[in-house]
């Protein structure tokens, strides 16, 4: 499919393993950091918003409600940021291999996208503990979760295909990207409910794929609802479009990688 075969999937899996290992190579705790880092981050948010600021969402009795609501949105976002960054720098970072070995380089951004799955796993586990503690355990609507995760990563890797190829020619991208992602985060109702946006902008948020993802997570885990099917379908087609065009652009450009790297 899309010009990939079984062997490519294995190579992608190998590249994913290497990616995870390489990130913490030389540190004494190694891959433990892959779990520890998101965990500390979430614990920090829980502390700040649960005990310091004591933010409450309307109708909630405890501050824990806001923390859970926040983390359902922010946890997946954290995974998204990590994955987009990793996948954007994946081709430039593997310059040595790209210049010297003939293989399907498009597997680099694709496999790099999946590093986000670790921090997503940590977030979901953390959430589950928190929700159990708050007495608001997800019901059967949790079955939507695998589909949402799949759609989230489909979007990420499609974006990654574009950005990783562009980054080879315009290196400024990977420098500007962290700030751009922070801006996107604050434009997306992740830290605040959508209702606090101006009415005109609220409508626009439905065109924001990152909001669609956050909202789908919130629906299935916190609101005990099925996520908006229109939202998910839109998300799928947007990702598919980005994926097909990104793959085509990547394949056109990859012949020039060795002179640009």
């Amino acid at each position: 499919m899309f010009g990939f075969n079984k062997q490519d999937i294995r190579l992608a899996f190998n590249l994913f393993k290497m990616n995870v290992r390489d990130r913490y190579l030389g540190s004494s705790l190694g891959s433990f950091w892959a779990i520890a880092n998101p965990f500390f981050m979430l614990a920090l948010y829980t502390f700040v918003f649960g005990f310091v600021f004591k933010v409450r969402i309307p109708g909630a009795e405890t501050t824990l409600g806001y923390v859970i609501w926040l983390i359902i949105g922010y946890g997946p976002w954290m995974a998204t940021v990590e994955a987009i960054m990793a996948s954007t720098t994946s081709v430039v970072g593997a310059a040595g291999v790209v210049k010297n070995m003939a293989f399907k380089t498009e597997l680099l951004p694709i496999s790099a996208s999946f590093v986000g799955i670790i921090s997503l796993g940590v977030s979901l586990f953390f959430l589950l503990v928190l929700m159990t503690f708050a007495g608001n355990v997800p019901d059967w609507h949790i079955v939507w979760l695998p589909l949402i995760i799949m759609l989230q990563f489909f979007l990420i890797l499609s974006i990654g295909l574009w950005l990783s190829a562009i980054n080879v020619f315009v290196r400024d991208l990977s420098i500007a990207l962290p700030n751009m992602l922070t801006i996107i985060m604050f434009l997306t109702p992740i830290f605040y409910p959508m209702e606090s946006m101006p009415a005109a902008v609220q409508k626009l948020s439905f065109a924001n794929p990152f909001f669609l993802i956050a909202d789908a997570y919130r629906a299935s885990l916190e609101r005990h609802q099925s996520p908006s099917s229109i939202g998910l379908i839109c998300l799928f087609f947007l990702s598919l479009m980005l994926f097909i065009s990104g793959l085509a652009a990547f394949r056109r450009a990859k012949g020039f990688f060795d002179s640009a790297l």
Partner: protein, 404 residues
Amino acid sequence: MELHITLHEVSKIFSAEGMSGRELFSTAVQTAADGDKIAVAEVSLTIQQGERLGIVGRNGAGKSTLLHMIAGLSSPSSGSIEINGKVTSVMTLGVGVRDDLTGRENIYVDGEIQGKARNEIDQVIDEIIAFADLGEFIDYPVRTYSTGMKARLAFSMISHIDPEILIIDEALSVGDANFSVKATARIMEICARGKIVIIVSHGMQAIKDICNRCIWMENGHVTMDGSPEAVTKAYIDSVRAADELQLMEKFQKFIGVRTLQAGWSFKQVAIFNGESKEKRVLLEAGQATRFVVRALTPISAAGASVRMRITRLDDLVVFDELFSTEAFRLHDQSIALEIEMTPLVLGAAIYRLDVSLEAGAIVCAESSSIFEVFVFNPPTGGKPMLLYPATVAAISTDSLEEVC
């Protein structure tokens, strides 16, 4: 199905502007604008199963660019490449080596980059470790290795590949002498297994040993295509000729006469060859030859000496002798010196004759001139420095006036 590689008018152009990301969108054929570098220019080539092709050429001739395109690492600006078979390329050794991992772990990493499963690597790892022969270091981090050890590890990783179409770019000699022999033998073995082999190398012997066809690239074009013996010979000859031209320019910088101290000067520096009474710069080997030097020194220049040196084009000093002027003094100020070489034994080449007048260690005047020696019946089997052993003697003479 027979394996083959067909290149049809393949060109590669490197844009002078650099790349901007246009490549992501444009499918248009790139054409050369002003200042662009054409690395490979409309090369058409067919390589059949069983051919082991060597590519020779100077730096920047487009060899590696062509190789990269065949390996699928870059795409041609125009033209098409058709490949039937699985390509394995060895461009640079040890690209995936992680310094913080041990040698053993790195072998797994390398296998992973090649898309192998763990158990597939397990099958060959003992063979690789045995080949690398690093002893206990195989379980130490690579950052503790010496450069040679790293190269050995990297080479060993490719030592077990089983290629259909093999592409090698200058990866033939690594490590110490012992390992290098082993590595070369292994390369030969791998090449013998490969159904098509393409090698870029500056080692002509390697090309002759491994290949059964050879092309010579110059400025992006294939200038010669034929048997390795014929092509490497033609290539080497052309490199020599070009090198000589370059040397000649450098050589000529020294030509001329200079007086460095007042009162010292040359009246004559000349070479006579054979029967001729004329000054010569083109000398025939085997003929009686005289090198004549006449000079003026200050009256009080006691202990002055004349140095004569003959240097071949490639900076090899053939003759270098310091003569005390006392024996050659004609009048108080004038000295005359003649060196006879009967017969002229210098081999065919271009030489420079440097003569300097020296007082103690101080050079007071110098003269440089160029002459060329030719041989009517050149000996076969290379160019000897001297045609046969002979003695060279300096003699004193009072009869120089007649000759001049």
